[in-house]
């Protein structure tokens, strides 16, 4: 890598070229212009769209929970569980995640405001806004800052120090996938840092209260209130809710891990943050994120996080516009020699799995660039 590199990486592929300061600025200006163009065009269509998404979430939740009340009949149970899982996935991804980024703040509509929105998820909205919108999006893939790198216990890049416990991380990752919503709920409490003595216990206890309240609310809803309301259908409702939550957890885990932990993802040292220019920030987002290809339904079900690169460049632009923006972003990246990391779900996910397995073992040769490729 050339000495003039404005963006030193600590690990990952080296498929993007170094940008000189002036080039970096021009790169940022082009992306800024694209963002302004899209923001100025927002209006009736996007507003109608997100309200329709909100209606879909609600109708499918009513339908799903309603069908589960007849859950002793296997077809009703299957359909109900499927609808409820669909509702939770759309609620969490296309609706909740995106609204909580402030993508619809321009509507000035109180029920769709990013800083107050609550979703059908165990993670308290405020905790999410801190750990995700702030820590993860501002410090994307910066080691020691972005706690989404391995969520504090998985080793996914060679620069992370190895620990014997990492030997079982493949099993831990499967457990995390199954219980992903609870993992995210506890994520912002930084329990790993508390255990290592880096964060005082009092802070944990203070911050745990709202998180526990939200988690209790979610738990009560799916595992107490609706089963009790169902009376004789108590057991199928309980099982259906659990299966819907599991489906949503596995799906979101898969999509989210493909966003930053694919083979070509890069991580960066803390030092990049000092006087980081807008262009360098954009370049870091591109190099730390990866896209998934697919059809319209697939993109919708991922909450358009399949356009992870566009999402990281423009986290507050309505996600429904990412597909249009992607062509332009890809063209800009190509001109500036920035690798646009994209692939099908299974090909990208395979590299994530490879990472989890490979880095569960210590890295013997530091000279070898870390890449599963």
């Amino acid at each position: 890598m050339s000495a003039t590199d404005s963006l030193p990486q600590v690990s990952g592929s080296r498929r993007s070229r170094a940008l000189a300061a002036a080039e970096c600025e021009a790169f940022g200006a082009e992306l800024d212009a694209l963002r302004s163009e899209v923001m100025a065009s927002l209006g009736e269509d996007e507003a109608k769209y997100i309200r329709r998404v909100q209606a879909i979430v609600r109708y499918t939740e009513v339908g799903g929970r309603g069908l589960l009340f007849a859950g002793w009949l296997p077809p009703a149970w299957l359909a109900g569980t499927g609808l409820l899982a669909f509702s939770k996935i759309v609620d969490n991804m296309e609706l909740g995640h995106n609204v909580m980024h402030g993508q619809y703040d321009w509507m000035n509509e109180p029920s769709l405001r990013g800083d107050t929105y609550e979703w059908d998820h165990a993670c308290d909205g405020d905790a999410w806004r801190h750990s995700h919108n702030y820590m993860h999006h501002a410090f994307t893939n910066v080691e020691g800052r972005d706690r989404d790198i391995g969520y504090g216990f998985l080793r996914l890049f060679e620069s992370q120090p190895w620990h014997p416990l990492h030997l079982v991380q493949a099993g831990v990752a499967v457990g995390l996938a199954a219980l992903f919503q609870w993992g995210i709920a506890l994520h912002d409490l930084e329990m790993d840092s508390v255990l290592r003595g880096r964060v005082p216990l009092e802070k944990l206890l203070r911050e745990a209260r709202p998180v526990l309240r939200k988690a209790l609310r979610q738990f009560a809803k799916d595992y107490v209130v609706f089963p009790v309301l169902a009376g004789p259908a108590c057991l199928p409702v309980l099982a259906g809710n659990a299966a819907a939550n599991l489906t949503r957890n596995l799906w979101t885990f898969g999509i989210i891990f493909c966003g930053h932990f694919t083979a070509d993802s890069e991580t960066f040292p803390d030092s990049v943050l000092a006087d980081e220019s807008r262009g360098a920030w954009y370049a870091r987002q591109v190099r730390g994120s990866s896209n998934l290809t697919g059809g319209r339904t697939f993109h919708f079900l991922t909450g358009n996080l399949s356009h992870q690169i566009e999402h990281h460049l423009f986290p507050d632009v309505p996600a429904i516009r990412y597909a249009d923006m992607a062509e332009r972003v890809r063209e800009i990246c190509a001109r500036y020699g920035q690798h646009y990391n994209t692939g099908s779900f299974w090909s990208q996910f395979a590299t994530v799995v490879a990472r989890i397995v490979r880095y569960s073992f210590p890295t013997w040769s530091a000279a070898e660039p870390a890449s599963a490729r």
Binding site: A47, W106, P110, E118, R217, F219, A220
Partner: protein
């Protein structure tokens, strides 16, 4: 704090979603009203008769309340002073059509009977003091007549024999709103004297001109002893408050302005201060008059309401830095204070939790 009740209470937005299927004016989170009638008051002023679904809205005469409409997917909010009496089953707002006004143009040109509008809580201290004063002076121009009309009629309801003078400025006689109603009031209340002061009188009489000391000498020479209410364009407000200040009776003057606080100082000498938006991880230096304008120019979309320091919708935590309140002139350099973006201007580097 961890109670089962807390954990099982349904989300109010969910209840609204269900209610909306029954009637679009039903809601547990907001006050919705149906537009029942539209009356033409002057060539550019119309009254809109609204029926709030949940019964009369609490307000004191002279206060304003936010009216919200969704246009092009965006919720717009404007403050209007009701021109109906508090407690009436219908609420009337009288709106002047502005050539550039998004909301006023929609209300005038597009709003139809049956449309549903959202109303907010009333606020403001342009209200009758208690006990109601015996002698009053009202000065109004343009849409300022709406708030003045509200307080004037309330004053006469409270004291039938009140001694009241109204100076109402307008361009042409046709531009005078509520003229017939006011004349009718004057017939029933001997203490009410009305002076319509138009720039182009219909009968060929001399133009009245803008507010001046001569008008006070002619019709309210005892103005210093009267409780005075003034509402109108910035020019009128400035002239009146200067006059009252010179006479050292400013404490008897109630004023209400419906104009954004950005008019006087030019952008040329304004220095661009670095503003850091902490949550967006962005820093900009833009020569804009207010932090709201800076945030919007930087592409952020903070919540906004009246954009003139009334509604507090844009209130945000200022992490650090010094700002000046453009209305009061007060300087705030306290860390972590809550400021209204629409009326705050940065005096140096500022960090916002935005």
């Amino acid at each position: 704090m961890l109670s089962l009740r807390d954990a099982t209470l349904p989300d109010p937005h969910w209840i609204d979603f269900v209610l909306q299927h029954i009637d679009p004016t039903l809601s547990v989170t907001r006050t919705l009203a149906r537009l029942e009638a539209i009356r033409v008051e002057t060539p550019d002023m119309k009254s809109f008769v609204l029926r709030p679904a949940a019964g009369p809205i609490a307000f004191a005469a002279g206060q304003s309340l936010p009216v919200r409409v969704t246009l092009g997917g965006v919720v717009h909010e404007r403050h209007y002073s009701p021109t109906s009496a508090p407690g009436d089953p219908t609420l009337v707002i009288t709106v002047k059509r502005h050539r550039e006004g998004t909301v006023s143009r929609w209300l005038h040109d597009r709003a139809a009977i049956g449309d549903v509008l959202e109303l907010g809580a009333a606020s403001g201290n342009f209200t009758l003091p208690s006990p109601p004063p015996a002698r009053l002076l009202f000065i109004a121009a343009g849409s300022g007549i709406t708030a003045v009309h509200a307080v004037l009629t309330a004053a006469l309801r409270a004291r039938h024999d009140a001694d009241v003078v109204l100076l109402y400025y307008a361009r042409r006689p046709a531009d005078l709103a509520f003229a017939e109603e006011l004349r009718g009031l004057a017939l029933r209340h001997s203490g009410l004297r009305i002076h319509f002061l138009t720039q182009r009188p219909a009968d060929g009489a001399a133009a009245a001109g803008h507010f001046s000391a001569a008008h006070l000498d002619a019709w309210a020479v005892d103005y210093a002893e009267r409780q005075t209410f003034v509402c109108g364009p910035a020019g009128l407000m400035r002239a009146v408050s200067r006059h009252w200040a010179d006479a050292a009776v400013s404490e008897r003057l109630y004023s209400e302005t419906f104009a954004p606080p950005i008019d006087d100082d030019g952008a040329a000498e304004r220095e661009a201060m670095p503003v850091h938006f902490r949550r967006s991880a962005r820093t900009v230096a833009l020569a804009q008059p207010t932090l709201l304008a800076i945030a919007e120019a930087a592409g952020l979309r903070p919540p906004t309401g009246c954009r003139m320091g009334i509604c507090r919708t844009c209130t945000c935590t200022k992490v650090s830095g010094a700002v000046r309140d453009r209305i009061t002139g007060a300087v705030d350099s306290t860390a972590g204070s809550r400021i209204r973006l629409c009326v705050s201007e940065p005096l140096g580097p500022v960090t916002l939790d935005l």
